[in-house]
Symmetry: C2
Subunit: 277 residues, 2 copies
């Protein structure tokens, strides 16, 4: 059987309960879609991971080593989901940083389970979550391991027909879905929430911002979605998912969303041709 998990490069499957990842959520992660051993948005993932390490005062991992490990765990999988976790490792009890940090690096592969094709063609249904995101600029944007807000939000529904939940911050601004970023199109303008106070700045979002060039990044009120012509979610694993329904309000899948899906596919960011359409 192929290795599916590497811990600090070794074929192990356990960590210490004294690891600060387990004790305090003191670390970061990345979830990558890997095609034939490579993640199409690799550099963006590594950029966010580096930013997270800087923010948390963690020594950054060796990117080449990570790339080799991602390849190794996904051997034999045409398309895999690989989770990279970097923690501050083991320290003495207490919050104080260790004098010398020996980070823990976990690279684990999971089989990719594709979405039903009609999620990409007809769109998905989403709901509103009542769980709000707290405002914490020090942790905003990065993909750290403190994810209880997302866990609580995702626990709000158990209806397989509803694919995602939209989250507002405690000030009432729309920020994201539990595991995806959101964009909307209003009278030709493409808008996505500002993530400087909370939320995760997705690598798919970053790729789309580069593609568009003139997206409005700003505070977005939930009621603005009522007047949107198009809404879509994105993340690096699922790609571009049109939203056809937010609670009781229906939306058509529009031309901007379609164009983006084509762009996404043209860049080779999806697993198979035809997965999206």
């Amino acid at each position: 059987m192929s290795v599916r998990m590497l811990i600090n490069g070794a074929a192990l499957e356990t960590v210490s309960p004294l690891d600060r990842g387990f004790c305090y959520g003191d670390g970061l992660f990345e979830t990558l879609r890997v095609l034939h051993g490579r993640a199409p948005l690799w550099h963006r993932h590594m950029q966010r991971l580096a930013e997270g390490c800087a923010r948390l005062q963690l020594p950054p991992p060796d990117v080449d080593v990570l790339a080799q490990e991602v390849e190794k765990v996904s051997v034999g999988l045409e398309c895999a989901i690989v989770r990279i976790t970097i923690t501050r490792g083991i320290s003495a009890r207490g919050y104080a940083l260790p004098a010398e940090t020996m980070p823990t690096r976990v690279v684990a592969a999971f089989p990719f389970v594709p979405m039903p094709t009609n999620s990409y063609t007809s769109g998905i249904r989403v709901r509103w979550c009542s769980t709000r995101l707290a405002l914490q600029p020090l942790l905003a944007g990065i993909k750290h391991l403190n994810r209880l807000e997302q866990v609580l939000a995702r626990a709000e529904w158990n209806d397989a027909e509803i694919f995602e939940g939209l989250m507002c911050d405690t000030d009432g601004h729309l920020i994201c879905a539990t595991a995806a970023n959101i964009f909307c199109v209003c009278e030709g303008r493409v808008i996505t929430p500002d993530l400087s106070r909370c939320g995760i700045a997705g690598v798919a979002r970053a790729a789309l911002l580069d593609h568009f060039g003139d997206v409005e990044i700003r505070d977005l009120l939930p009621e603005e979605l009522m007047h949107a012509n198009e809404i879509f979610l994105c993340n690096s694993v699922r790609g571009i998912l049109p939203v056809n329904c937010v609670a009781d309000k229906s939306y058509a899948v529009g031309s901007v969303t379609r164009e983006l899906q084509k762009h996404w596919r043209a860049n080779g960011w999806m697993a198979q041709d035809g997965e999206q359409f």
Copy 2:
């Protein structure tokens, strides 16, 4: 060698990196001071743990089993620090709760390292942290595993002369120290911050609130400390620690603090006679 760690009751020392505690900080912990196998504030710890489980929709652990495990890991230690960690265990990848939760329960003992006696007699020095606590009522009060704010705050100084750092919330209210609650005495009134939007509601704090009966629990501004006659920190491991200095401002150790230290000792909540005075 005695067992110092139990995982789901077994003498193991590892957990899975797929555990939601490691992946998302999806769980809770308690840190207990254990004297001859028993934690003096046991019921309060168990009460907070139960409240945390309810808030996170986790099945509560069996308290009798936990008590046995605490005793087992601390055998041979006159005074131990025991950390109990309860997580949502392993699930499929993603934030969604598993259909059936199999929590992970870690009980680990550490030797107790006493504070220098003069910390209790002359008091300790504290500083202000610039890291703010985000406002999240859904998680306020409970001792969950999402502790990056405390880690960042504690990373702000590396001066052994400074024992703790005071933290404000993002609205500018004083909330707590990185690992202790705070009380102050102003013109005879005992005041402690309201913790309904952030912070951890310590079991020592709860014991003191019961003892006093008429503490003002309210929003507290940092500048109010300038006019305080006494300030002290408390947690269940360290007891009552008088503050003799906040940044550049000095404080005397006052009579309310002394009375509380006596109360604390009289209840048998400290390890040894004379440790506090």
